[in-house]
Every structure is written in structure tokens, then in C-alpha cells.
Amino acid sequence: MNEMLRVDQLQKVFTMHQTGQKRIVGCDHISFSVRKGEFLGITGKSGAGKSTILKCLYRTYLPTGGHIFYASQQFGAIDLASADERKIIVIREKEISYVSQFLNIMPRVTALEFVMESLLELGETVSSAKKKAEEMLDHFIIPEMLWDTFPRTFSGGEKLRLNLARAMVRQSKLLLLDEPTASLDQASKETVRERINELKQNGTTMIGIFHDLDFMDSVVDHNYKLESGVLKEV
């Protein structure tokens, strides 16, 4: 299998100018690699820096040091830590998806449209995108009566499942999952597990952060623990 992502000595330091130039180390000396189609799980205490790593990979955080080598379909080997913003935008649109714990949605966009957008960005036709989005909403047990409503008023679990549906409706090259099972009941977790396995079979590489260790053990190929700033394979 080919290497999909290699993180080399990743460092993120936040400098807080409003509080006397305070420096907060988000993560430091983080190195790991993941092959195509593998799922790498990261666990650790709250505040250990797990989300910081994920956000650096998605370039929501600009790394302070180190490299993130990614095998892009569009651009070939590329260092996400220093790549041009325009390339990052295209990679996000076409290759890398990110599931956060929070729903960020435009006003007046329905749940169905929210999921469809993910496919329309890839150039799918409206009818095909609609069909796939409906199947995915159904898979994640979002009641049909909610499909044409605005998700701002959804429950926490529904919002998370909607986020998952949007990210997992497409076959991303790399999928980043930040606590994908937080606030989900057992039945919903099962739907997430099923979809993760389908994506893996189809070659999607995944990196996920978990607190639910049982769930993580059932889906990941490699289990890393972040402790005192050190990332170790368990």
C-alpha cells in the first residue's frame, strides 16, 4: 500500500498577543504516517492536542514547524503545512473532508441541501446528488420529515449525524474525524461504523480522534495515544 500522509516533526505554537505574548504549545514533535485505505485513531486526554493535530492537517491551524506530506491526486506530493492557500481550497473541495463536532451551516440551507452540496462541489448532477444525499440521511437515521428543514434547531446528535452524512456521502481521499461518535447513541454509532467500513473498503484513508475507546478499537488499523505531548502507537 502507498503512503497517503506523512507527518514529520509537526509543531503548533499559539502566540496570544492580547495576553502579554503568552505562548501556548498545541503540539510538538508529532510524527506519524498513514497508508492509503488505513484508519489511524488518536486518543488522549482533553487538551492533549489531538484536535490541534487534526486542524493542522486540514490547515485550519497554520503549523509553526514541521511538514505534512500528502499524496494529492490533483497536485502530487504536497506539503500541507506550507502549501498555497488556493491549493488547500481545491484539496478541501475535492480530496480531504473534515467532520467537526460543530455544525457550521449557512442560514436557509436545508439538511438535504447541506449534504447535497458536498457532492455538487465534486460536479455531480443535482438528481444524482439528491438521491445519494437522501440515502445517506436515511443511513444516519435522520427522519425524512427533517430533510427539508433548517438544521440550526436540530439536536446535538442530529447535527453530528448530519455532519457525518455530509462528509461520508462522498468518497474522500482523506477523511478527518474529530470525535465522530460523541453524543451518539448505540444505534447511531453502528451506522457510523458501517459507513466507515464501507469507505475503508473503497480506499478512503482516515484519521480520527476518539474518547470512545471500544468504538475506536473496532474500526482503526493503528491506535496512537497522545500523552504529555508525545504520540506513541499503542
Binding site: K55, R59, I89, E93, M106, P107
Partner: protein, 282 residues
């Protein structure tokens, strides 16, 4: 967002805009003391200082900053409402991208405004002729671009107004009788009349109530998705920028202080002013 294109459709380099006559102490913006943009001797204000950026096809570029930071002056300069003091601007589809649009003749500037750019002002009174009907406002823009067929003009106006959810029964009404949100939507349809490749939006949701604001934001996003029009969205509202733009530039006292991916600017701001701005977000 469209696919990556190597060449920007608009590139601006070293744009400077001074209000006031200037004096021996402020011939150049770099002569100003400290980080101020106001000359202490003659009171001239440099609203834009060495502003450089690229705009690509199909992207929404956000410009954010406090009142008086120069963001509205920037888009007005791009739309030739305020003559620039110095600098260059090139549009890829105008003279093969080899001409400085700021030094072109008045006739060429009119061509750019009629065919290549659209502008939506914060104040609809600046963008609309209130004594014309809504359809008449769109017709004015179409006629300016050389379209004199009444039937075609009416058809195009109907289509545009329908697109921005203005009931066609109100096409012959004057926008002065419309609500603020409707006026903004008529303005947007007028700006889009000739399918410009660049749309400039200056604080288009400021002063609108939240439900109307949501409708306008939704409309802008829909237009961008359907037509791949490149847009520059100016706002002091980080929420609007977060919803709309792919990349964001932060302005303070006429200068660009930070730029980056919008989520990166909001979650990992580096410049002290950007950090202050983000921390002040409600």
C-alpha cells in the same frame, strides 16, 4: 469554488489611495509616522496603503476590518468611484490582462463597469435609481452594454428579478417603495445584469434584520455556486465573512495586516489586531 486556475482574473498591486491634498511630509504613505494612516501636518488620510491581492475565478474573497480601515474605499476604487492615487490593476479578460485599469480612459472604465464588473453598495440609493422602476434599473444597465431590444431587456429583467426572489408583479414598481432587503436584492440583480466576471459587494447586509440578512447571504452563495462569479465581499461582520468567503484579508488603517483561509483567520489568527477582532466576536 471553481477548479484551480493559475492566473487570477483580477490582480491588484500597490494600490494607494489618499484623501486630501497631501504635503511634503506625506507624499508617500511610508513617510507617515508609525502605523498611522493620517498625516499629522496636513490631515490627509491614506485610506489604502500598498494594497496588493489576487482574485481568482469563482472564489469569494472576504475583506474585513473596522470602520475606517479602508475596505469600502478599496472596492470603490476598484469600481472607479474613487480615483486611486497610484497602483496597478489588471483584469484577465480586459486587453489580455496587460492594461492598468486605473489609468484607462473614461470610456474604457465605463466598458469595464458595464461588462466586466458589478457593484452592490451598502446604501441602495447609490446603486439604484429610485425614480426608475426595478425593471428600469436593470434595463439601464443592459442598455449601457448595448442591448436595445425591448423584448429581450424585459425578458432578462424578469429572469434576474425572479432569480433574486422579487415578485414579477412588482417589476414596474420603483424600488423606493421596497424594503431594505428587497432594494438590496434589486441591486444585486442589476449588478448581475450583464453577467460580470467580478462582483463587488460592499457591506450588503449591514442594517438588514437577521432574516433578511440570511436571505441575502443565501442568494449571494447561490449566485456564486451557479455562475462561478468571483466576488469581493467587504464586511465588518466576521459572521458574514465566515459564511461566504474562501479566503479573507484583514485591513487596519489602510493596510492589509493578515490574510489567509477564512477558517484559519477565524480560528488561528496571528496578527494582534486580528486576534482582537476575533475575540470580540459575539
Amino acid at each position: 469554488m471553481s477548479d484551480l486556475t493559475d492566473r487570477p482574473i483580477l490582480n491588484v498591486r500597490d494600490l494607494n489611495k489618499r484623501f486630501g491634498r497631501g504635503c511634503v511630509h506625506c507624499r508617500k504613505p511610508e513617510d507617515l509616522p508609525g502605523l498611522s494612516n493620517r498625516c499629522p501636518y496636513c490631515g490627509s488620510v491614506w485610506a489604502c496603503i500598498h494594497v496588493s491581492f489576487d482574485l481568482y475565478e469563482g472564489e469569494i474573497l472576504g475583506i474585513v476590518g473596522e470602520s475606517g480601515s479602508g475596505k469600502s474605499t478599496l472596492v470603490r476604487s476598484l469600481y472607479f468611484d474613487a480615483p486611486v492615487t497610484s497602483g496597478t490593476g489588471e483584469i484577465a479578460s480586459f486587453k489580455e490582462g496587460k492594461a492598468n485599469i486605473f489609468t484607462e480612459s473614461a470610456q474604457q472604465k465605463r466598458y469595464i463597469k458595464n461588462y466586466l464588473m458589478g457593484m452592490v453598495y451598502q446604501n441602495p440609493w447609490l446603486g439604484l435609481k429610485m425614480d426608475f422602476s426595478s425593471g428600469g434599473n436593470i434595463a439601464e444597465k443592459l442598455i449601457a452594454a448595448g442591448n436595445f431590444n425591448v423584448h429581450q431587456i424585459r425578458q432578462r429583467a424578469s429572469k434576474l428579478l425572479d432569480h433574486v426572489e422579487i415578485p414579477l408583479t412588482r417589476m414596474d414598481e420603483k424600488p423606493v417603495h421596497f424594503s431594505g432587503g428587497m432594494q438590496q436584492r434589486v441591486q444585486i440583480s442589476k449588478a448581475l445584469a450583464n453577467n460580470p466576471s467580478i462582483l463587488l459587494l460592499d457591506e450588503v447586509t449591514t442594517g438588514l434584520d437577521l432574516s433578511v440578512q440570511a436571505r441575502v447571504l443565501d442568494l449571494i452563495r447561490r449566485i456564486q455556486r451557479e455562475s462561478h462569479t468571483a466576488m469581493i465581499v467587504v464586511s465588518h461582520d466576521l459572521g458574514v465573512i465566515r459564511m461566504l468567503s474562501d479566503r479573507t484579508i484583514v485591513m487596519k488603517q489602510g493596510r492589509f495586516v493578515e490574510s489567509g483561509l477564512t477558517d484559519q483567520i477565524l480560528e488561528d489568527p496571528h496578527h494582534p489586531y486580528t486576534q482582537l477582532l476575533v475575540q470580540s466576536l459575539l
